[in-house]
Symmetry: C2
Amino acid sequence: MLPAKVKIVEVGPRDGLQNEKEFVATEVKIELVNRLASAGLQNVESASFVSPKWVPQMADGAAVMAGIERRPGTIYSALTPNLRGFEAALDAKVDEIVIFGAASEAFSQKNINCSIAESIARFEPVAKAAKEAGLRLRGSISCALGCPYQGDVPIEAVVDVVQRMKALGCDEIDIADTIGVGTAGRTRDVMAAVSKVFPRERLSGHFHDTYGQAVANIYASLQEGIEIFHASVAGLGGCPYAKGATGNVATEDVIFLLNGLGIKTGVDLDQLVEIGDFISRAIGKPSASRVGRALLAKKRDGAASCV
Amino acid sequence: MLPAKVKIVEVGPRDGLQNEKEFVATEVKIELVNRLASAGLQNVESASFVSPKWVPQMADGAAVMAGIERRPGTIYSALTPNLRGFEAALDAKVDEIVIFGAASEAFSQKNINCSIAESIARFEPVAKAAKEAGLRLRGSISCALGCPYQGDVPIEAVVDVVQRMKALGCDEIDIADTIGVGTAGRTRDVMAAVSKVFPRERLSGHFHDTYGQAVANIYASLQEGIEIFHASVAGLGGCPYAKGATGNVATEDVIFLLNGLGIKTGVDLDQLVEIGDFISRAIGKPSASRVGRALLAKKRDGAASCV
């Protein structure tokens, strides 16, 4: 039995745009967030309160949060690496705070020069402050299906990080295949294992389409009862590890799957395709969404085309 | 339980290249077929013996078949629309004859101006001749998951065409999602239904990635016990119904899935990626394979990249 409905966390404005070298104007980011919320996305990852030295693209997080319309019911989430970032996010009236850690020891050491356990412990003050402020807290686990440095990642390592994030009070936990190497069988096994230590309905799948596996991994996750998925409109983001390769799975492609399965999302696919076209033009790159390209080609060329 | 091994029918040299406007040199086609067979593909759809007026790209079928090396055990298949085409294929020493029909009445009427039943009955002399000559006979059913003209295609219509092709003596039958609109649930239902009237181990799935669903549909088919799949190296082919949209699923992406699931194919992924690069350069188009692009980017940029 697949879930009857699914929540999509739209990560395009944050996870997607942060990999863009050219600065995307604040007004464009605001329009993107507003249109995504209008199209029915229930959670829009809108900003990152990190040091502008690390991620200059996200330097305007406060301005984005100040400029957007707030749709009742929509969750506007933001990444916060530390207490300073948390305070900025709180000032900006973010609804959900995202903290993060890797399931790969090699990735953790290489990227932040500390162990997984240490990196998560560092989030304790942020988690505590978020809870005190009454904000939702989401934990994101990168490299859960493979690591660019160590290759395989043991399932027990993913389970361990889930337990640490649960202990910090996370309301929702993301199992992220940061480099897109996961396939359906492994996805199913990881989802089954983490469901044993954290409520299934508050786990999410974050898949990258670098190897074309994301939609199949979502299907495998649905079969395990997972009902929250991350996706990025137009497949925004690319793969930071391989230039020209695909990154985040495109929201359009995920909605096409879910519509076909009769699973409710509340997202309007036509609007989403238009938003994908808008942001692709704004950043001057072709859409990485197959559905986006096919449906736009159909509109352009007329009736007797695909579908 | 998923199958332990899968046979891939590589359709790039025929189904893929036939949509290319610019004529691809015979030597390039020969090299493509030879390299695909060397990489371990067990069945390579190598030519189409149709009128050169209809499909000028395939006019050199006899020369391709005469020029290739024959690997022992490899099946070199070809499309034959009629007895004349069959005789040319027989002269060219093709191993397997492919006949075809649509599961959509609207598609059949619009494309060949006759009913599905009539179109399949017309293949009777070809089927008989193929059997008499001791050749393998494969039947391909287009629009099995949706039609560009009528939209939905009833599962009973697919089952009916399978039964007609079975009656003609087909050794293998392809369930083809010609326009890529199928999603995993429908795929599973269609595969389950046709498995009741034709041996499961001789059914194949032919999926297009126009809406990004092909890899998920293959996974859903594997769960139904299907163990033959079609794919096109570098995703050659595009979508004839929507310019710029994706067509046949890329062989590289399918092998990545199957390798991840531990299912044996006998296909060497590294060689396949090189072949995808070779043919993409030869036709002057970027590869539509995500695996191809990611692994080539990794090779180009060095070690610390995806995987």
